[in-house]
């Protein structure tokens, strides 16, 4: 049975069950061992597969939630690092910011992959996925915010006019000492 469960867990291909699953004791010649109550066993057996599936589903959803919340820790970590990096442009702060931008981004790209193992008809992955995406977006937002505090986002007028050539003049004048 254990083995069967294990196999089930891994996704069943085929199985031959040699155990006698008949519930009527009459069909059996051998009396049950002492302390064994067939009744309860029978009761279990009837719902066994469904129960197993349920357990698996809860386990999956639990795992999925865990995975969904994982970026939160990351977020805290990132926040700390950003605070440490300061607001001047140098190698460290740029590295932190780039990783802060890249990590959520790549995580968002791989949302499907991350939740692949927990895919089940019974498990509702929408919630975890949304949380995961939201947290990563927050992370991304933090990255962008950091980029802005570093002054690397073109959010100021100065960023758009800093390379604006001088306007042409209509008139032309020359001259000097006369």
């Amino acid at each position: 049975m254990d083995k069967g469960k294990a196999v089930m867990g891994m996704g069943r291909r085929w199985a031959v069950d040699f155990t006698d699953n008949s519930t009527s004791p009459s069909s059996r010649d051998i009396p049950d061992p002492l302390g064994f109550t067939r009744a309860s066993q029978d009761q279990d057996d009837s719902t066994l597969s469904r129960e197993k599936k349920n357990a698996e589903a809860t386990w999956k959803s639990q795992k999925a939630w865990e995975v969904a919340q994982a970026p939160f820790k990351n977020l805290m970590m990132m926040g700390f690092m950003m605070w440490m990096a300061g607001s001047t442009v140098h190698l460290f702060s740029i590295g932190i910011t780039v990783s802060a931008l890249f990590q959520p981004f790549s995580a968002l790209q791989g949302v499907g992959k991350v939740f692949e193992p927990y895919k089940d008809s019974k498990v509702d992955l929408l919630g975890p996925k949304l949380v995961f995406i939201a947290l990563n977006l927050v992370g991304l937002g933090m990255g962008v915010w950091k980029l802005n505090t570093l002054g690397l986002l073109p959010t100021h007028a100065s960023d758009w006019v800093s390379s604006l050539p001088p306007a042409q003049e209509v008139e032309y004048s020359g001259g000097g000492f006369f």
Binding site: S158, V161, S163, A167, Q168, S173, F177
Partner: protein
Amino acid sequence: MAISVYLLLCIILFSSYYTTFALYEDQVGLMDWHQQYIGKVKKAVFQTQKAGRKRVVVSTEENAISALDLRHGEIFWRQMLGVNDAIDEIDIAMGKFDSYENFPSLMVFGGKDVVTLSSGGSVLRAWNLPDGQMVWESFLFGSKPSRSLLLTPTNFGADKDNVILVYGNGYLHAVSSIDGDILWKKGLAQSGIDIQHLVHPEESDTIYALGIRDTSQFEAYAINVRNGELMKHSSMELPGGFSGDLSLPTSDKAVVLDSSGSILVSISFVGGEIKFQKVQISDLLQGYSGAAELLPSKLAGMVAVKIDRSLLFVKVKDEGTLEVVDTVPHVEAVSDSLSFAEGQTAFGLIRQDGRKLQLTVKSSNDWKSHFLKESVEVDQQRGLVHKVFMNNYVRTDRTYGFRALIVMEDHSLLLLQQGAVVWNREDALASIIDVTTSELPVQKDGVSVAKVELNLFEWLKGHLLKLKATLMLATPDDVAAVQRIRLQSAEKSKMTRDHNGFRKLLIVLTRAGKLFALHTGDGRIVWSRLLNAFRKSETCENPRGLKLHQWQVPHHHALNENPSVLVVGTCGHNSDASGILSFVDAYKGEELNYLAPVHSIKQVIPLPFTDSTEQRLHLIVDAEGYSHLYPRTPEALDIFQKELGNIYWYSVDINNNLLKGHVVKKNCKDEIADGYCFESSDLWSVIFPSDSEKIIATSTRKLSEVVHTQAKVNTDQDVLYKYISKNLLFLATVTPKAIGDIGSVTPEDSWLFVYLVDTITGRVLHRMSHHGCQGPVHAVFSENWIVYHYFNLRAHRYEMSVVEIYDQSRADNKDVLKLVLGKHNLSAPVSSYSRPEVVTKSQSYFFTHSVKTVAVTSTAKGITSKQLLIGTIGDQVLALDKRFLDPRRTVNPTQAEKEEGIIPLTDTLPIMPQAYVTHALKVEGLRSIITIPAKLESTTLVFAYGVDLFFTRLAPSKTYDSLTDDFNYALLLLTIIALVIAIFVTLIWSERKDLQEKWR
């Protein structure tokens, strides 16, 4: 885009924060060159006694005194006098013997000093002949300006204490040649007298001062040399009067022309008895009628009379009679006579026929014989011979040889010896008037223009040597080899355009009317040309160059044509003298065309338009205010007509304290019209009250200056819009009392006013007054800022001020969305008539140096930060970051401001010894500094000129866009190879180890 530019700016900013601009010792001469000149030689004195180095001491029109090596023409030593300290006379006198006791090697020169008389006969200086150090200096004061004469008698009997006799400012001084003490002083300043000669007859105690009073009275003063006592004064009048100067063939006779110029008068004044003897020139030269001219050359026993193009040599006999010796045609120059051996005298005369010079050395005693007759060919670009100085030497076979020092029309100096030009000096380059640049030809495939192309092996060898030097493995020989390779890099002197734009031609106009092209790589002369338009002729008496403009700069569709320059000159010193225009090919130096004489030239205004052959349109304004368009082609006229109404010009009238604006309106009236002449009408004028203000300086932006952006970003991401206009004029005035020298006025009476005037509308954008300040003002205008230098009388110090102008009317453009979508009018063409609101910020600082000239670096795109180049009074060029002259400097800048690069405010501008661009060199007589952008944005080329020339490359923010020249490619290559090998080796190792692990 914005980010990348911002990042770039950040990088520039950070890289420039702690820069020092000093060179390492071994970098000197890598990208700079320095050339020394002396200017056109006025007088030369030879000093070739016995052994030792043979040399000639010369005084020049650039006020230089220099000893030149006679073998190679190199400058042995050189001393520069001030600009207003013109040298009148130069001679060699016996100095103090004792002072050389400690330097036995110098005894060769017997303690001789070079004596110079300058500043109109009021300063007498003695210079040590061996090394040019000043021995003493004497100021001779007098009552009124007069001719200045110098006499250094060679032997006063046995008296060791030699006397130098100086006549200047109406006084005769006897000065001790040992220490410059004035022994006695005698006033000879009668009204109207013009003392022309001091004569010392051999072996006597008397000197004669000869002169002419009121053009008709010959005066002779006999003065005792010992005490200055007037022994005898005699005078005699010649009815009709004299003309020209006295000539002195012997020590007791003078010759002069009478006022008609047709009678030679020989004057004998032995013992104070004056006798006249007159001879008609027509008697001397049969059938000649016309004016003659007496040459100033001192010939023993003879005078040279110039008649037409011929020279008449007239011998003065003992009894005072005159006798013609010979008539020599086409003589260009005659030297003074030279005495050598026992009583022999000779002089040289030069005849010229095109390129051929013929030098004849004649004996004064015996006309028939001549010591020497040789002819030599010289470059036609040297023009005519102007002066010749003779010297003799003893040949190995004990006969006498002669050498001639020749000054040519182009100010060059040649030494002729044994029928050949031994050396020449291009001393026209000491008097540069204007400079422009030209690109070199593009390198074409298959045509190698380099003299020495390095092959790969040599390249590798060089780099290996460098590598050795880097790794400290090199021997001293290797180090020397590396340095030689670096200095003689063929790369920098190629005759083609380079990728970085470092190689260019500097086209240089000199006062001699000669145009030179110098290669920026090593400073050599690529070509030189004495312009035909700038040579003396009947129609053009005093030609002189004024300006040099780029005429044709082909870069797009006219690439096959050579670039050319426009040389502008004038025929005289008057304002209405006719003008000269000459067009010269910049690659070959050929004079393509010249227009002379044309209308007078007051202003040359290069217009911002070019025609289809990339010829730039120029507007030349004449003295009457008419403007003439060049080039004179219908196409140019067409282009110009389209822009008519938008072309303005202004004039600054210093005499009338007037600033006037004009607009070019319509074609001239028919009488003078040729279609290319335009009339202007006066638009506005700014009149400065002449009782309170006097214009002393103006400054405008350089026409070719490129500005990268119109915005200036502050610390808090705020934007300030620069007011960038090419039509701005900076003008400084002072109160009339303060026009003199510094200190000639009290601080209370002295005001300095500065103005910023729009030259289209005449609107005064900014006016500021500095109380207690005085000129001279040196200003430099770039982008939206002006820096000017003046003297603060209250603080007794020089000051520098900066004014930055910002456009307030654009300040509202702050909506990011609009800017992103491009809904702004920041790049729309603007007109001065829109009257933008401007704000100015300014700040002043003390500055230690007095300044000769100020310039600013210029780069190709205008991104790189700027440096001010200050020509100091010590003839050096100092680079000063513009960041030190930033009106936003405060005493305690915030952290953000510090990050932006704002330096804490100090009262004085720092002068870092490493910031001298000229490092250990001096650019003697520095007059101007020119900056030329290279193609590489970080780099600017700097050319400083005066009597010396200096050229270097500067990178105000370091070379952030290229590797340095001495970057070791071999080391890089080696490192890469080593790394690749290491990768493979470790790869094999790790595989083997893996295999072993698996078998375990």
